[in-house]
């Protein structure tokens, strides 16, 4: 069953220096229970695509359906079934974990009592037990990220969008987060759409990858398919496949210092 389908989805920003086509035309078809990685260099249009799919940004072209609801005609219905975790998270650092989780539950129209119970439940499920009365600012990077995800899971969404969920996490926290994402899909059937420019993350976590470059989809398939198609071997590195598909590396190399 297709949960997300987009056709020619586009967004052009009007800037003083002229129009900027952040997303030119994105066609996606994502099935229920898939973990899909949107992969691409910075500025490829990944975040803009997510912001459109989560109703934060109106498309300037194309159409999309999310969980059976038309994105443009019925954004409220889309909001009710989607969770979104932005790169910056979305909690006030000086409020407690409980305060933020309960408020989020209330915004998703839970009663006071249900919101309080849901906060406890989420804290238990995401390893935040005992942290409910701590301020978000005092959490570790991994705990903070799990809180961000708990906020997005408040209403048990059909689709969860994660924008660069592991940016800034240490290797242990990253693999913990991958586990969490897999268990969301395995235990609840949640469809997960995440953006990343870490090839190892895409390779390890996603069932299917969508390579986005210059605001359009340049390739898609399972990691193994992409490696076979673009680098002639399922054992090739995703970096090689990415290079072949886009003509440049996923993460531009840092310029080497001229002198140390």
């Amino acid at each position: 069953m297709t949960v997300i389908s987009t056709s020619g989805l586009a967004r052009t920003f009007t800037t003083p220096s002229g129009p900027v086509e952040a997303v030119r035309s994105v066609d996606l078809s994502i099935r229920a229970g898939e973990i899909v990685g949107l992969l691409g260099p910075n500025g490829a249009g990944k975040t803009t695509t997510l912001r459109m799919l989560t109703t934060l940004l109106a498309p300037t072209g194309g159409a999309a359906t999310v969980a059976g609801h038309d994105l443009v005609a019925d954004p409220a219905a889309v909001r009710a079934v989607c969770g979104y975790v932005a790169q910056s998270g979305g909690v006030d650092p000086f409020l407690t974990v409980r305060e933020e989780l309960v408020t989020q539950g209330r915004l998703y129209r839970l009663s006071r009592a249900d919101a309080a119970a849901r906060a406890e439940e989420l804290a238990g499920a995401l390893g935040l037990d005992g942290l409910l009365d701590r301020k978000a600012v005092s959490l570790s990077g991994g705990q903070r990220r799990r809180l961000d995800i708990a906020m997005g899971l408040t209403h048990r969404p059909t689709v969860l969008f994660l924008d660069e969920p592991t940016t800034g996490l240490d290797p242990g926290s990253r693999t913990d987060l991958w586990e969490l994402v897999r268990s969301l899909r395995d235990d609840h059937g949640t469809t997960v759409v995440l953006t990343t420019h870490h090839l190892d993350e895409a390779d390890a976590l996603a069932d299917r990858l969508v390579l986005i470059d210059g605001g359009t989809v340049v390739a898609e398939g399972t990691p193994a398919e992409l490696k076979t198609r673009y680098a002639d071997s399922p054992d090739a590195s995703l970096q090689d496949a990415f290079l072949a598909a886009t003509g440049r590396p996923a993460t531009p190399a840092e310029p080497a210092p001229a002198a140390v």
Partner: protein, 249 residues
């Protein structure tokens, strides 16, 4: 849904305010200083009015409190945009106008509370005014706070940095304060200043509250004050909700 959402947002920000004594009291510092150190200067000056000098100054200070307190309210939303709080709320099904209205209600309530404290201090300094007049003064304070906070949040949603926001607010609030005759009746000055003064909405509000403080309720000043306050509030909330409906989407 609008009411429910507004209540949730109001509660969230009201709780934050209640936890911060700084936020509760700091905003009234400037009008309080004017009351203490400027008010006594007016005692024996000819102000061109039969009213007592406190009956002229205190209405001005109430609106000054509202003008400065509410105009800078938008700073908070600039911070919340950078922490992702605004977008996180915008992806929930909460009504868009509720995200604005919950905040401005908190601001209006906070500024009205500060106005009550300011009037209590003024009573100690020597203010005498009828209770009905004082209550009318609070109503104008609250409506002005609601209006200016709506505009402030709307502007804050549109700008990217506090560096763009602060100078714009300063550039509006300072001339607004001077031209509205909050400190001294503009009628003391030349005719052209009086004409310019009537181009700001605040002038009508301060004239209305000054009348109320002398117990004159059925006056032309009061009528214009009520009409301008209501019209300004309607326009400001309309602009604000439009920005909140469309921002980013």
């Amino acid at each position: 849904m609008l009411f429910h959402g507004t209540a949730i947002i109001f509660e969230r920000y009201a709780r934050q305010t209640l936890r911060s004594r700084f936020q509760i009291f700091f905003g009234m510092l400037m009008p309080l200083l004017y009351l203490l150190f400027f008010g006594p200067l007016l005692r024996d000056l000819p102000l061109g009015s039969p009213a007592d000098s406190w009956q002229i100054l205190v209405p001005g200070l109430l609106l000054q409190l509202s003008l400065f307190g509410a105009s800078f309210a938008g700073f908070a939303i600039i911070v919340e945009k950078s922490t992702g709080v605004v977008e996180r709320m915008r992806v929930t099904p909460v009504s868009r106008p509720a995200l604005l209205l919950g905040r401005v209600l908190r601001d209006a309530l906070l500024l009205t509370f500060q106005a009550v404290l300011l009037v209590l201090a003024a009573l100690l300094m020597g203010l005498r005014a009828p209770l009905a007049g004082i209550l009318i003064g609070f109503a104008f304070t609250a409506v002005l706070a609601l209006s200016l906070a709506s505009l402030s949040y709307a502007l804050a949603m549109r700008v990217a940095t506090p560096q763009e926001f602060g100078p714009v607010i300063n550039a509006v609030t300072m001339p607004a304060m001077l031209l509205s005759g909050l400190m001294l009746p503009i009628t003391l000055g030349p005719g052209w200043l009086d004409v310019v003064s009537h181009l700001t909405p605040f002038r009508y509000l301060v004239d209305a509250v000054r009348d109320a403080y002398t117990g004159s309720y059925a006056t032309a000043h009061m009528l214009y004050g009520v009409l301008v306050a209501a019209g300004f509030a309607a326009a400001a909330v309309t602009v604000g909700t439009r920005v909140f409906r469309r921002a980013g989407a």
